[in-house]
């Protein structure tokens, strides 16, 4: 499988200025490496503050990484001209209420990427917009409506249509179904799966919902406080998680028909520390049931073990 997106040791540090104090470094991303193959889905899993949203911003050039390199179709990010870049990688946002301009009609929301980036006539654009609306399951008569006339699921379809107008190769999906009602989630997930085949898309699927990630991904990347803790194929990670954080994450996910009043030991005690004051060793050590003295001394490297990459000394 050829890779379409290669991310090499990117770091993102936000300096936090405080009055009368030395600025602190917020390490949002530390040494992130991964590749995304053609027509593949890489699921990125983690809780709030793990850096997955920052990663999405870096990958879409909304933020520049502090260091490291990203190659999209073998071309480094800084070498892209904006037009080519935007037509190769696009994004679908989490909140369909915030990501659509409330004062623009559905038609304009979908048509604008073409108007800005191509020389197509308005008639050609109109045809392309209607074809795309049909493809994502929006009726033609919706074209002149404003976002607040749409339901959450329809809005997300609009967001997907907008992202696909420039025929990108890579789509970054930032929690695309987590703001939707349960009965709507399956509709949108099915649509995403169909579109991936039709447009041979590569997905970077960011989510905190493990069952959704398991369903849609080929490979999984688990993040905790800005670092990759485990990275491998879906089945390896879900059937045989090795990092204690992945194990606890899988245990904590609500399961249906699984009669358990949770046992004490599958709950990670405490909460993630602030990314401003990371512990010296493994960031998960303070909550880890398997921690040893070594864990608090140095940051465990991401190692190739058990057919996956895992960053744990005791795995």
């Amino acid at each position: 499988m050829s890779s379409i997106l290669e991310v090499q040791s990117i770091n993102k540090i936000f300096p936090i200025k405080k009055m009368f104090k030395k600025p602190l470094d917020l390490k949002a991303l530390s040494d992130i490496n991964f590749t995304l193959g053609t027509n593949e889905t890489l699921g990125i899993v983690g809780e709030s503050g793990c850096g997955k949203s920052t990663l999405a911003k870096v990958l879409t050039k909304l933020e520049a990484p502090t260091s490291g390199s990203i190659e999209l179709l073998k071309i480094k990010y800084p070498d892209y001209n904006p037009k080519d870049f935007h037509s190769h990688i696009q994004m679908v946002f989490q909140d369909p209420y915030q990501s659509l301009n409330p004062r623009k009609k559905a038609f304009d929301i979908i048509a604008d990427p073409l108007r800005i980036n191509t020389d197509k006539s308005e008639a050609e654009i109109k045809e392309l917009v209607f074809v795309m609306m049909k493809r994502v399951g929006l009726r033609e008569e919706f074209a002149l409506r404003y976002p607040h006339h749409f339901s959450g699921g329809q809005r997300q379809r609009l967001g997907i249509a907008r992202a696909l107008m420039l025929r990108p190769k890579v789509l970054i999906l930032d929690e695309p179904v987590s703001a939707l009602d349960v009965s709507i989630q399956a509709q949108v997930l099915n649509l995403l799966l169909e579109l991936q085949q039709d447009f041979s898309l590569s997905y970077l699927f960011i989510s905190h919902d493990l069952s959704v990630v398991q369903h849609i991904s080929d490979r999984i990347l688990v993040m905790y406080l800005g670092r990759v803790v485990e990275y491998g194929s879906r089945d390896e990670i879900f059937n045989n998680p090795k990092h204690p954080y992945t194990q606890i994450l899988l245990d904590s996910a609500p399961k249906i028909g699984f009669k358990s009043i949770a046992t004490k030991n599958d709950v990670a005690p405490g909460e993630a520390p602030s990314a401003l004051y990371l512990p010296k060793g493994c960031a998960f050590a303070p909550r880890c049931p398997k921690k040893t003295d070594h864990c608090v001394k140095s940051i465990p490297p991401l190692e190739d073990k058990y057919n996956r990459m895992v960053a744990c000394l005791n795995a």
Binding site: M91, Q98, R103, K104, I116, R162
Partner: protein, 288 residues
């Protein structure tokens, strides 16, 4: 936009004050437009045989002159009718000028931040640090008296209100995801500022514009009163007030009537502005 106006009018209908305001504004607009038809006399015609006649409904009045005549024997009703033309167009001019400049500066300040923002905001602070009428007087003193210069001066004084409102709104809107999405398909900064963000700042702008209307009318009238605005023989309510000053005790109607006109029109715009604010606020919250 059509739907927006429809919803707005629906909300507005529930507010009695705003509806009264709208009726009065529409009435004065009608009067201003049809002034040549409805004015009983030429407002500039001097009648040396009927100086300072009281209104027709009080003792000594003539039924020819419903609201009496002024010190030069000109019909006050006709002068008031023509005065509405001046006042309304002055209000309109002030709002358009200050709205366009203020919006432009406010968007740039809010969107770019940094040095540009600081410079623009310090400039508005400077304007706001003086009482507005005083600042307007300074500007007219520099430019010279006259209705056009008065409009320019009053507009400059009104700019900071617009800058502040727009800037605050832009600073909220620019962090919304739809702006990120626009950046992702390569929209230019100009496009993001004026096509994506600006339409989302309309609600507070509309409120401020309607309040700006009344401020504009009031300030230009004040300049006229001080002899710095409209010049004789133009019939402008502020200037009429000023001319009538010396007869305040002997011919009180000459002061009362133009004063009343200013009061009613300014009040109606304020009522409309408050109504708009009430109508737009919950809508804003619902959508955000």
């Amino acid at each position: 936009m059509k739907q927006f106006l429809k919803d707005l009018f629906f909300e507005l209908k529930k507010n009695r004050g705003a509806m009264i305001g709208i009726v009065i504004i529409l009435f004065s607009l009608l009067v201003a437009i049809s002034a040549p038809v409805i004015a009983p006399h030429n407002p500039f015609l001097v009648n040396s045989d009927s100086l300072r006649l009281p209104p027709s409904f009080s003792a000594g009045g003539s039924k020819d002159f419903l609201f009496g005549t002024d010190d030069l024997g000109r019909d006050i009703l006709s002068r008031l009718i023509y005065g509405s033309q001046v006042s309304l167009s002055v209000g309109f001019a002030v709002v358009v000028l200050s709205l366009i400049t203020g919006t432009f500066l406010g968007i740039i300040a809010g969107f770019y931040g940094g040095f540009l923002d600081k410079s623009i905001m310090r400039l508005t602070d400077l304007i706001m640090s003086l009482p507005s009428i005083l600042f307007a007087i300074v500007i007219v003193a520099v430019l010279g008296p006259g209705i056009v210069n008065a409009i320019v001066a009053v507009s400059i004084v009104a700019i900071p209100n617009f800058v502040r409102i727009i800037r605050a709104q832009v600073m909220v809107e620019k962090n919304r995801q739809y702006v990120s999405a626009a950046k992702l398909f390569g929209a230019s900064n100009f496009r993001i500022m004026f096509i994506e963000i600006l339409p989302n700042c309309m609600a507070p702008l509309i409120v401020q514009a309607s309040l700006g209307f009344s401020d504009g009318i009031l300030n230009v009238a004040a300049l006229g009163f001080l002899g710095l605005g409209a010049q004789a023989p133009m019939s402008e309510w502020g200037t009429m007030l000023s001319d009538a000053r010396s007869y305040i005790e002997s011919s009180p109607w000459m002061v009362t009537l133009p004063g009343l006109c200013i009061l009613v029109v300014v009040l109606s715009f304020n009522l409309l502005g408050d109504g708009l604010r009430d109508a737009l606020d919950p809508r804003l919250k619902k959508q955000n």
